[in-house]
């Protein structure tokens, strides 16, 4: 509720700001100084808008606590050895998952941001608590490799295609020679007709 109140205030300010920009239009006979002022005003208002947008996004990100718990809880594993995502561990009486969930909810209630919350869990339970490798240090390799392989694969396919396209056609001994132009199109049309089904 508190968050929503803040959001309302911000959005009402936002409305005033936008409205103010459009309302404070200078007179047509203004001098170049006035034009400079207008430009300055434009940048000032833009900066305000940008700051406002960032603030709104920050508040939006922090606003829905249950969504945050859900998101963070799906980015961590239960460490009891069940190999399940924290929020999906369904062992009643599990020595870890219930305590970890309570700690997660407490961290979100305290207002800890995502990084701080996750770092806290890593410090307490070790790196295996994260459900996916972090994007730091050697762990970056985990994320880069599949894309690298994809790019290399595409490059390899391109090379293969290039080689195939430039390859001279080898005809078996006694085979009919290659046909071109209108004759080839005639054969193609006939083949299409023959193989329509």
């Amino acid at each position: 509720m508190r968050t929503r109140g803040w959001l309302t205030k911000l959005s009402s300010r936002a409305k005033r700001g936008i409205w103010g920009l459009s309302g404070a239009r200078p007179s047509p006979d203004s001098s170049s100084l006035a034009l400079l002022g207008m430009t300055e005003m434009f940048f000032k208002r833009s900066a305000q808008l940008l700051a406002l947008a960032l603030a709104v996004f920050a508040v939006l990100g922090a606003g829905d606590e249950s969504a945050r718990v859900n998101d963070l809880g799906h980015r961590m594993m239960c460490v009891c050895g069940c190999n399940q995502i924290l929020l999906e561990c369904n062992h009643v009486g599990c020595a870890y998952s219930e305590r970890m969930r309570a700690e997660l909810i407490a961290a979100v209630d305290r207002g800890d941001n995502d990084d701080l919350t996750l770092q806290g869990f890593v410090q307490k339970y070790g790196t295996t608590v994260m459900a996916a490798p972090t994007k730091t240090g050697f762990n970056r390799v985990a994320w880069i490799m599949p894309y690298l392989v994809l790019v290399l694969g595409i490059a390899m396919v391109a090379v293969i295609v290039r080689a195939w396209r430039s390859r001279p056609l080898v005809l078996p001994a006694g085979a009919v020679g290659a046909v071109h132009g209108a004759e080839l199109e005639h054969f193609r049309a006939q083949a299409r007709k023959d193989t329509e089904i």
């Binding site: 799906h74 980015r75 594993m77 050895g81 069940c82 190999n83 399940q84 995502i85 999906e88 561990c89 369904n90 009643v92 009486g93 070790g126 790196t127 295996t128 608590v129 994260m130 459900a131 996916a132 490798p133 972090t134 240090g137 050697f138 762990n139 985990a142 994320w143 490799m145 599949p146 894309y147 392989v149 994809l150 694969g153 595409i154 390899m156 396919v157 293969i160 295609v161 195939w164 396209r165 430039s166 390859r167 001279p168 056609l169 080898v170 078996p172 001994a173 006694g174 299409r192 329509e196 089904i197």
Partner: protein, 672 residues
């Protein structure tokens, strides 16, 4: 009992070793008697099936007779275990499942060796390779993981029982299906290596191999999805795929096998991708072995922790031998694998297959990489990291979407080249239909801008619509042409069309099944769940459903004690079902297990788990998941099975494969 089993395994090893050595001698020797020697090798291979079968029967009979003098039976069975699970004891533990591997391999070998007249020399080579694989598994069974090892000391009165997670009907069929898939890839591997060794002329071996691969691929598909269904029904976490290393192990050969089934068509039709296909089938077989290694070695932590041991070194050595053998013969005979044709156009079926293969292999690499990264991380930085669903989903979902796009476009492309006009003509209406589907979904409230998962879900459904429409348009277009000639109605014409080219239209049906599965996956974005302590009369509302707890009941039988809830389900104020989520306590193993109650409809699954009682309050905890579109996944699998069966039926108009001139000139079997 154990002595009969042990003797059978030893005899089987001797027979397979003979089949391997005599087979090689017969193939190498130029002596006139080599033919008879080869025949004895073939017969020894056939006899190995009978002996391995005897060993398997002995183990099953020991389970039924509660022969706890055999350590394996003591650890995986108990007196009160129901009969179907006693039968499943055969593959419930490590030693038994290795015996089951050997049994299935010898059964595949039996079929191959009985059909040797198709091409005597090719089949003789393949038989020797299969015998080599048999020797490996029988060495393991005799010297590292003997299922007939006896208990030391006084005989126990009862066994420790089967793992409760395995006491579920699907576990009686899931492992056999999966193993039929894993083991089955030995046959295409054997044919491919045989063809490479003997520099087999023409593509006949490809036809034989493709058929075997399709059967094997069908089994593996069933096995993978039966495993997913088992996880969904037994593990009780509301999902069907957790990217567990053992699940990944089954997915990897499936991906490379799928790539092979596509790219092999290029070799059949155009004489292209010969090296690629050879290595694809080699990789598929090696990944099958690697999967067994992952399942059995405990090198990575997994929920499938019921079968870990230290036989990993054997598998590593075997994998090294396979790789070295494949590499040796490839280097020796690679000139035989030269491509015969050139690529005429980028807009062609050939290039679509290339990209299809690329994406399938990238997906396979991602799965392999993610599975092994924890080991690599520990090795490099000294700390283990977890690579779980967020990693696999993030990398593989975009790849899957690209694959779906290719599935839609590929069939519309002709071999050699396709004109842009023809592509436009065939693609226009399906594309409009897919876009309309997207617009409709957004109008109905789907917000792809809200989260990337919603975007992926929308794209999946749109691309699935695109594939469905292209498949339907292919059937309708062909059906109309036949209808015009025969005067039959459209449906009869389409049936005839499929019968004329079963491989092509069976393939389309498989594609249709795949998109139905993908739609099922797309539904997971909208999953909801709720957990609540529920006493008598308590209510829980989720989505349009209200669950009212009526009572809790207990029961007891010799195998397990159970406790279950009686929950009435209401929708729009009307009672629509009664569900009984259950929790069991297995006496022999002293372990608990959940039995999920699931009300499944095409729209959604109402999935109810009785999680047990809160230790503090003593009140029962009920967790309810509302999982949309899950039924589509299982329907999709049935469609894939139907498509595979259609593709295996011989076409009414046989598909002609051009053979090179020298192939036609030589008698059958004169491969060398």
């Amino acid at each position: 009992m154990s002595q009969i089993g042990s003797f059978a395994l030893l005899l089987a090893l001797a027979l397979c070793a003979y089949s391997f050595l005599a087979g090689i001698l017969a193939l190498v020797s130029k002596a006139p008697s080599s033919e008879r020697l080869g025949e004895t090798a073939r017969r020894a291979g056939i006899a190995s099936f009978a002996v391995v079968f005897l060993a398997a029967v002995v183990l099953v009979v020991a389970a039924f007779q509660n022969d706890f003098s055999i350590a394996y039976i003591f650890h995986h069975s108990n007196r009160d275990l129901p009969a179907p699970y006693k039968f499943a004891t055969l593959w419930s533990g490590q030693e038994g499942s290795l015996l089951f591997w050997a049994l299935l391999l010898s059964a595949y070998g039996l079929v191959l060796r009985l059909r040797y007249k198709t091409d005597v020399r090719l089949f003789a080579h393949a038989s020797v390779i299969i015998a080599a694989v048999q020797v490996f598994f029988l060495l393991l069974l005799n010297f590292a993981a003997n299922p007939f090892g006896v208990m030391q000391g006084a005989l126990p009165a009862d066994g420790t029982g089967l793992n409760p997670l395995l006491q579920y009907p699907e576990m009686v069929i899931h492992p056999p299906m999966l193993y039929l898939g894993y083991v089955g890839f030995t046959v295409p591997f054997a044919f491919a290596l045989a063809a490479l060794i003997m520099r087999y002329p023409g593509e006949k071996w490809i036809q034989i191999t493709r058929r075997w691969t399709m059967v094997t691929w069908g089994f593996l598909t069933c096995g993978v999805f039966l495993g997913a269904h088992w996880a969904y029904s037994v593990l009780g976490w509301g999902g069907y795929w957790g990217w567990d290393p053992v699940e990944n192990a089954s997915l990897m050969p499936w991906l490379t096998g799928t790539a092979f089934l596509h790219s092999v068509m290029m070799q059949e039709k155009r004489g292209m991708l010969k090296t690629w296909n050879m290595w694809l089938i080699f990789s598929t077989f090696m990944l099958s072995i690697f999967g067994t290694f992952l399942t059995r070695s405990g090198v990575v932590s997994s929920v499938h922790a019921f079968a870990q041991s230290s036989i990993g070194d054997w598998f590593v050595a075997f994998l090294a031998i396979i790789f070295a053998t494949c590499l040796f013969f490839y280097v020796k005979n690679r000139s035989h694998l030269r491509t015969e044709h050139k690529l005429e156009s980028l807009i062609s079926r050939e290039s679509s297959f290339l990209f299809n293969n690329l994406l399938l292999l990238v997906a396979c690499f991602t799965v392999l990489w993610g599975t092994l990264f924890p080991v690599l991380s520990e090795w490099v930085q000294g700390t283990k990291v977890t690579v779980g669903p967020p990693f696999f989903n993030r990398v593989n979902v975009p790849v899957a979407l690209l694959l779906l796009l290719l599935t839609a476009v590929g069939p519309l492309l002709a071999w050699r080249r396709t004109s842009v006009e023809s592509l436009k003509r065939n693609f226009l209406w399906p594309a409009i239909g897919a876009l309309a589907t997207g617009v409709l979904l957004v109008a109905l409230g789907m917000k792809p801008w809200k989260d990337v998962s919603y975007f992926y879900s929308l794209m999946t459904i749109m691309l699935s619509a695109l594939v469905a429409l292209t498949v339907i348009s292919e059937f309708v277009r062909g059906g109309r042409v036949i209808g015009r000639h025969t005067g039959q109605n459209l449906f009869a014409s389409m049936v005839q069309l499929a019968h004329r080219n079963t491989r092509r239209y069976g393939g389309y049906i498989v594609h249709f099944g795949v998109i139905v599965i993908m739609i099922g996956f797309a539904g997971s974005v909208f999953n909801q769940d709720k957990e609540q302590e529920m006493g008598f009369g308590d209510k829980l509302t989720i989505g349009a459903y209200t669950l009212v707890c009526q009572s809790y009941t207990q029961d007891d039988n010799p195998n397990y004690g159970s406790e279950w809830a009686v929950m009435n389900v209401f929708k729009d104020g009307k009672q629509i079902a009664t569900l009984n989520p259950e929790r069991r306590f297995y006496k022999a193993s002293q372990q608990t297990s959940t039995m999920v109650a699931n009300r499944s409809t095409p729209q959604e699954d109402l999935y109810v788990v009785y999680e047990g009682q809160n230790p503090q309050t003593g009140r029962p905890i009920i967790k309810v998941h509302l999982n949309p579109l899950v039924m589509w996944i299982w329907i999709g699998v049935w469609i894939i099975i139907a498509g595979t069966i259609v593709a295996l039926i011989p076409s009414a108009v046989p598909v002609r494969v051009p053979a090179p001139a020298r192939m036609r000139a030589e008698p059958v079997g004169a491969g060398d």
